[in-house]
Symmetry: C2
Subunit: 173 residues, 2 copies
């Protein structure tokens, strides 16, 4: 079975031939909000997909730029992606360093705890701005149906976090 990162890369390749470098830029501003592998990880995954027969590599010589490797998804790749997508999603055990620190807040500095909450709120406010900006410049096509779901999730998350943070700040003040 695929790992999530392999599936993410296949998913991006499903839209067209791309290099590792291209993928990076595709990721930020879209999937990057909820799945952001390190650069080196992308370059590690691509050859693996090739050796599994899920993608094909094509060497492209360039003169003014360094040469590059373009990857294209295969029929087997599309099948593997579809299979992965349809499998049940495991419940994701939430990891949150913020909550961990707050939970033990009594052993720390009250001022620091307050600042942790404020920081997270600022991040959420920033996220909200970015998502609204993306929303504004996105044309609502048929292909946008699913990505729209994820943006909406982000918005709902950001707003819930802001509400919580305001309440928490009041409690801690």
């Amino acid at each position: 079975m695929l790992t999530a990162t392999e599936a993410a890369v296949l998913g991006l390749l499903a839209d067209g031939e791309r290099s590792g470098y291209d993928l990076r830029r595709c990721i930020e501003g879209s999937v990057g909000y909820f799945w952001a592998p390190a650069r080196s990880q992308i370059y590690a995954v691509l050859p693996r997909l090739v050796s599994l027969g899920l993608a094909r590599r094509r060497h492209v010589r360039q003169e003014t730029r360094p040469d590059k490797q373009l990857y294209r998804i295969t029929a087997a790749g599309r099948a593997a992606l579809a299979d992965w997508l349809d499998r049940p999603v495991e419940p994701e055990p939430g990891h949150s360093v913020l909550l961990l620190k707050l939970f033990f807040g009594d052993y720390g500095d009250p001022e620091a705890m307050l600042e942790h909450v404020r920081g997270r709120r600022r991040e959420a406010e920033q996220l909200k701005v970015e998502l609204l900006a993306i929303e504004a410049r996105t044309t609502k096509t048929e292909q946008d149906r699913y990505p729209a779901l994820t943006r909406r999730y982000g918005l709902e998350y950001a707003e819930a976090l802001i509400r919580w943070a305001k309440w928490a700040e009041a409690q801690l003040r």
Copy 2:
């Protein structure tokens, strides 16, 4: 600097002497909601804390039960914990397999995508019930101030998720 798991364990030890086994049970139903190391990980962390001088081990012989190791936090341990708690929280890059699958939903089965959303909603509804139950049986003491913050976060999260899921289900139907 401590890892989050080391800090979590120290945090629990700060409340009193405990065995690895005890810690496991402390974790589920409290920190476990946002930080749940594997059992083997707890047993790996404890000796490390001892060798760092942050905890002390005490062997307790038992007759009707297997022997056990009790761990107690040291003064250095409390200092290390406080230091870790007060450090700024890094922005946590969100990982969500659910959103990843949804984002590429076009390449999968629509029925499966709908089921993914429904599944996550059920989990959130369950979480909400659990958190309300904990809330109900908790006496609002001074020590509860910080943990209360994390429960409230969970509630806000669960409710936001349920709202989103209902909306998403309508979109996909």
